[in-house]
């Protein structure tokens, strides 16, 4: 028994050592400012563990890339940006506690968290301390606006467009461009995101004279959709709307095609990931469409440069979260430049006034509800390539 314990201890010690060594090596991810006083602290409060760890990690990678690029180019207002990175474990209360800690570190703004729920956890602290929060991907309408009072939350911003916009966009496209009359909604029911989109899609689609044959739901981490798909196949719809994230959507589409469902399938920005093609395969993705902020296949030089830099640094394709994380930092930098000083309140004022900011996810202006007004695009998968179908200005 004693020997067992000794071996256990030895192995555990080895693990700790290897982790410590790993951290030392990976320390480059969190560069420190030249001098303590000179740096502008930027809080990065994202989900690095727990359910949506991969979204948080990608957004973090995008944000860190932006900060490095800016620092290399001389920083902002003559100062370097110093990212302070924290893991909120995909839990709202943890996000709150971290925001409080970050505020204590005198951050000028917080990037993240990713999901609307975690942002909501962070919100009271940011509001109380008057420090702006830039949410890369929180799409629920009530993130920036208080449901009860209808007032805009002063310190909460986002760079993604919101659920009503995307849902409406796809419904218009389905009715007008695809002439769909009978649709089935199969949405991610474990997120307000999927449910929100489904709701707005239904509203517009029925207003256009279409009928929703059925609404099915899946939940996060589902990998088997064939039961519901078999059911959907029997309904024989001429359009299927699948608002959700690529982790679930990719196998879903693959399984749909395997079952012989040929109807066009539509989706949303959560689809945007290189994994869509690698998981679902080129053939399965033909005749699918999704709304998005940008496309990593976009030939726009700014996007090409971003994709190149991201690949060079992380050796992986940037997905929408990475792009949105990158844009969150960039828009903050724009705000700092406009404000002329690294002061959270001044930054907030400047952010509220941003117009025609050129992000890699499109040109955006912040409206009075702190939502970005930006073009949406509808992309089509053609043999594994994302092809721009239309661009729609709101």
């Amino acid at each position: 028994m004693r020997i067992g314990k000794k071996i256990a201890m030895l192995v555990l010690a080895l693990f700790v050592f290897s982790i410590a060594a790993g951290c030392g090596g990976g320390g480059g991810a969190t560069p420190t400012g030249d001098k303590a006083g000179d740096a502008i602290n930027v809080g990065i409060n994202v989900e690095l563990s727990g359910g949506v760890a991969s979204y948080g990690t990608n957004a973090r990678d995008g944000a860190i890339l932006a900060i490095e690029q800016i620092n290399k180019a001389g920083g902002v207002l003559g100062k370097q940006l110093k990212p302070i990175e924290r893991d909120c474990k995909s839990i709202a209360d943890e996000a709150m506690s971290i925001s409080a800690a970050l505020v204590g570190e005198k951050i000028v703004a917080q990037i993240g968290p990713l999901t609307s729920g975690d942002v909501a956890g962070s919100t009271p602290v940011m509001m109380e301390n008057k420090v702006p929060l830039i949410a890369p991907a929180a799409t629920a309408a009530n993130v920036t606006v208080d449901d009860k009072t209808g007032k805009t939350r002063d310190y909460i911003f986002r760079v993604c467009f919101i659920d009503p916009f995307q849902g409406t966009l796809m419904a218009q496209f389905a009715s007008n461009d695809l002439n769909a009359k009978k649709a089935v909604i199969y949405c991610d029911n474990s997120s307000d995101y999927g449910k929100g989109l489904a709701q707005y899609f239904e509203k517009t689609f029925t207003a256009n004279g279409g009928t929703i044959l059925a609404q099915e739901g899946f939940v996060k981490d589902d990998r088997d959709f064939r039961a519901a798909l078999t059911k959907i196949k029997g309904l024989n719809p001429d359009f299927i709307y699948v608002p959700g994230y690529y982790q679930e959507v990719a196998p879903l589409i693959k399984q749909a095609r395997e079952l012989g469902i040929t109807a066009p399938i539509g989706g949303c920005d959560g689809w945007d990931s290189p994994d869509m093609v690698s998981v679902a395969g080129n053939d399965a993705l033909n005749n699918t469409f999704f709304t998005n902020h940008y496309s990593s296949q976009d030939k726009d030089p700014q996007v090409v440069e971003f994709v190149g830099a991201f690949k060079a640094k992380y050796n992986k394709e940037p997905d929408a979260f990475a792009a949105l994380g990158y844009d969150s930092v960039q828009i903050m930098v724009q705000g700092l430049k406009d404000a002329g000083e690294a002061n959270p309140v001044k930054l907030t004022e400047a952010l509220a006034k941003i117009k025609d900011f050129n992000g890699i996810t499109g040109k955006m202006s912040i409206d009075d509800q702190h939502n970005p007004v930006k073009a949406g695009v509808i992309l089509e998968f053609k043999d594994g390539q994302q092809v721009m179908k239309t661009r729609i200005q709101p």
């Binding site: 760890a53 099915e216 039961a227 982790q247």
Partner: protein, 293 residues
């Protein structure tokens, strides 16, 4: 009717995977009375090994599965030696907490090493073909998963039933002290059990990889929990019980999604579990044993 048959086909391959994982839960429980919460994560490690074997070494799927099974067998034995053996004479709840610790460790150490993003099984590893059989769509991967799971279960049955090692495993789980008196080394037998269970989990992991063609560090949690429910359903500690439980779970899930509301799928699965526990606490195949006074 056709739809129903299709749902059965869907449920069977899923059930086969659950059954493989459930076997591990059941055998470990049978021999050391531990709910090994890390079992689903061992499956994940197996899937990862399979993935790297396919992508880095470019092996074919069968070699990848074998590699994953061997790697995880070693790995499972190590986990048992390091984390569980020192606690063998402690309370079962202490061992349970350790298992939770091991589970978290595997998940997050994997994230630390490889990042949280899912990894995509290369398409070439297993080109999908669909066969239409009387209106049913049957995929070669369904056949692959089902057949390999059944083959592995048959091999396991053979080991348990006919080999000396298998008999020793049964003896230890039936009566550890009497087994010692036969000259059976309990430590060794437990190690072998972990090796076999982990190898089965690894195979299930690779199958899941083929089935969904992605792997990620947290992929073990949900199937792990489901398989665990399957093991209890069949009667934990009882090998045929785990197999049946796995298929029941797979079919049940498919049926609830197909004919009810897929959102209640998990609730129904757990509800059935509670129902079974209440009417027959030791599971479908379990024998109720009263306490001796």
């Amino acid at each position: 009717m056709l739809e129903f048959a299709q749902q059965i086909v869907n449920g069977l391959s899923l059930g086969a995977i659950y059954a493989l994982i459930a076997l591990g839960y059941t055998m470990v429980y049978g021999i050391i009375k531990l709910i090994n919460f890390a079992h689903g994560d061992i499956m994940m490690v197996g899937a990862l090994v399979g993935y790297f074997s396919l992508t880095l070494l470019g092996t074919n799927i069968f070699v990848a599965m074998l590699a994953a099974m061997i790697a995880c067998a070693v790995f499972g034995v190590l986990i048992e030696k390091i984390a569980y053996r020192p606690l063998r004479n402690s309370t079962r709840i202490a061992a349970l907490i350790t298992a939770i610790g091991v589970s978290l460790f595997l998940e997050y150490f994997t994230i630390f090493l490889f990042g949280p993003a899912q990894k995509v099984f290369p398409e070439t590893a297993f080109p999908i073909k669909a066969y239409a059989v009387g209106g049913l769509s049957i995929l070669n991967k369904d056949v692959f998963v089902f057949v390999s799971a059944v083959v592995l279960m048959l091999i396991l049955q053979y080991i348990i039933k006919w080999t000396k090692t298998g008999k020793a495993m049964r003896a230890v789980s039936l009566d550890r002290e009497a087994a010692v008196l036969m000259g059976i080394s309990v430590d060794k037998t437990i190690s072998i059990t972990f090796a076999i269970c982990s190898a089965l989990a690894a195979a299930a992991g690779v199958m899941l990889g083929v089935y969904y063609n992605t792997v990620n560090p947290l992929m073990g949690i949900i199937p792990g929990l489901k398989a665990f429910v399957a093991a209890v359903l069949g009667g934990i500690g009882i090998i045929p019980g785990a197999m049946v439980g796995g298929f029941v779970m797979g079919l049940l899930e498919t049926m609830v999604s197909g004919y009810g509301n897929s959102l209640y799928r998990d609730a129904v699965a757990f509800g059935v579990l509670i129902f079974i526990l209440l009417i027959k606490p030791s599971g479908i195949f379990g024998e109720d044993t009263g306490e001796k006074v």
